[in-house]
Amino acid sequence: MNVANETGEQPVHVLVIGKDPAILQTVLRLLNDFKKARYHAVGTTEPEQARELFSNMPVDLVLITNGLDRVTDASLREWLVQRRPGIPILQHYGGGSGLLFNEITYFLSHRKS
């Protein structure tokens, strides 16, 4: 989906990866708030599907939430960086609305500078 938001900007495309389906759905729901339309987020609980999505969709930011074991997490990050080095990979803490938009705002503002 590439619908411009109310300010005429393209939404930020976010790929979310986390093992807990309920938390993943919460994060996706928050990001896909259509009233703001700042983000377009897709997500998966499976690292392999994350690779597939990353290869076939526009992605501006990768958000890793919870539950990936260390080896899987490291392997996925390495693959993502090799595939497209400029895409920020953000560890999301807190699992909900508390820090989500703060973290993304910080990362995106620093990527631009």
């Binding site: 807990d20 919870n66 560890q91 803490y93 807190g94 699992g95 909900g96 508390g98 938009f101 910080y106």
Partner: protein, 254 residues
């Protein structure tokens, strides 16, 4: 000691709705200032007054240590692990969100508001088993001494191996970070020095009531000050005061 951040009470973020009147010392939710993204591992300090009968319905968390300290009133907790509990002055609660937990928090009192400090600390390990713990501490705290109410999990002999779902009757709670929380009631005209527990940690001081001077800064009710350095900070009570002091690793996770 060097003052690194000063948060005056009136300069906090303010959100008011039917369920709560909240002041945020740090950026939270949609509210963002880049100079308010935390103090080391301390990321959130929300001063919530929850309306009678109101609260926060079930919602998720992960990878965060969430501490509730009651100033007055009671908050009833329930979570997806099957835990239920009540936090009140003298009984704090800690949610180790770890790999994921859903919880709700309500003020079930029909008439009285409940004032709590909800504090989030980044954990020192990701994706641990989630858990809920309570700890009973002496309240009101003794005069003119620091009372440790929260310390690192594993700091004391006999700590549970995981910390999962251990409702303790001890006077010190446990969290998954090299952090110590201390409360003190300080009489007017008294100085208290705080020896930092771990080299490299900083100290964030939050005035619950009263007026203090720390490092030449005068702090009033609900002001906060972060300091770092090797020396033990000294707190001087300009008037009778109650203070929360958090001894926090100065990690930067952004």
């Amino acid at each position: 000691m060097t003052v690194t951040i000063l948060h005056k009470a009136g300069d906090r973020f303010h959100v008011r709705n039917e369920r709560a009147d909240s002041y945020f010392s740090f950026s939270f939710g949609d509210l963002y200032r880049e100079d308010r993204l935390g103090f080391g591992a301390l990321r959130v300090l929300n001063d919530d007054v929850v309306s009678p009968g109101a609260g926060f319905g079930s919602h998720p968390h992960d990878n965060m240590e969430i501490i509730t300290i009651m100033v007055n009133g009671e908050i009833t907790h329930s979570d997806s692990l099957g835990n239920e509990g009540i936090a009140r002055p003298g009984r704090l609660q800690i949610i180790s969100a770890g790999s994921g937990i859903f919880h709700s928090e309500y003020n079930k009192g029909a008439a009285l508001s409940a004032n709590n400090l909800q504090i989030w600390v980044y954990p020192n390990q990701l994706n641990t088993p989630p858990g809920y713990r309570q700890a009973d501490y002496v309240y009101p705290t003794p005069l003119n001494e620091w009372q440790v109410i929260l310390e690192p999990l594993g700091a004391a002999a006999g700590d549970p191996a995981t910390g999962q779902n251990a409702v303790t009757q001890e006077n010190t709670g446990k969290l998954r970070q090299d952090a110590w929380f201390n409360l003190a009631r300080i009489s007017k005209g008294t100085s208290l020095r705080y020896p930092i527990k771990k080299a490299g940690n900083g100290v964030y001081i939050f005035v619950i009531e009263g007026r203090l001077t720390v490092e030449k800064e005068t702090l009033g009710r609900r002001d906060g000050l972060g300091v770092s350095g090797d020396e033990a900070p000294e707190v001087f009570a300009e008037e009778d005061a109650e203070v929360l002091l958090m001894d926090i690793p100065m990690v930067n996770l952004l």
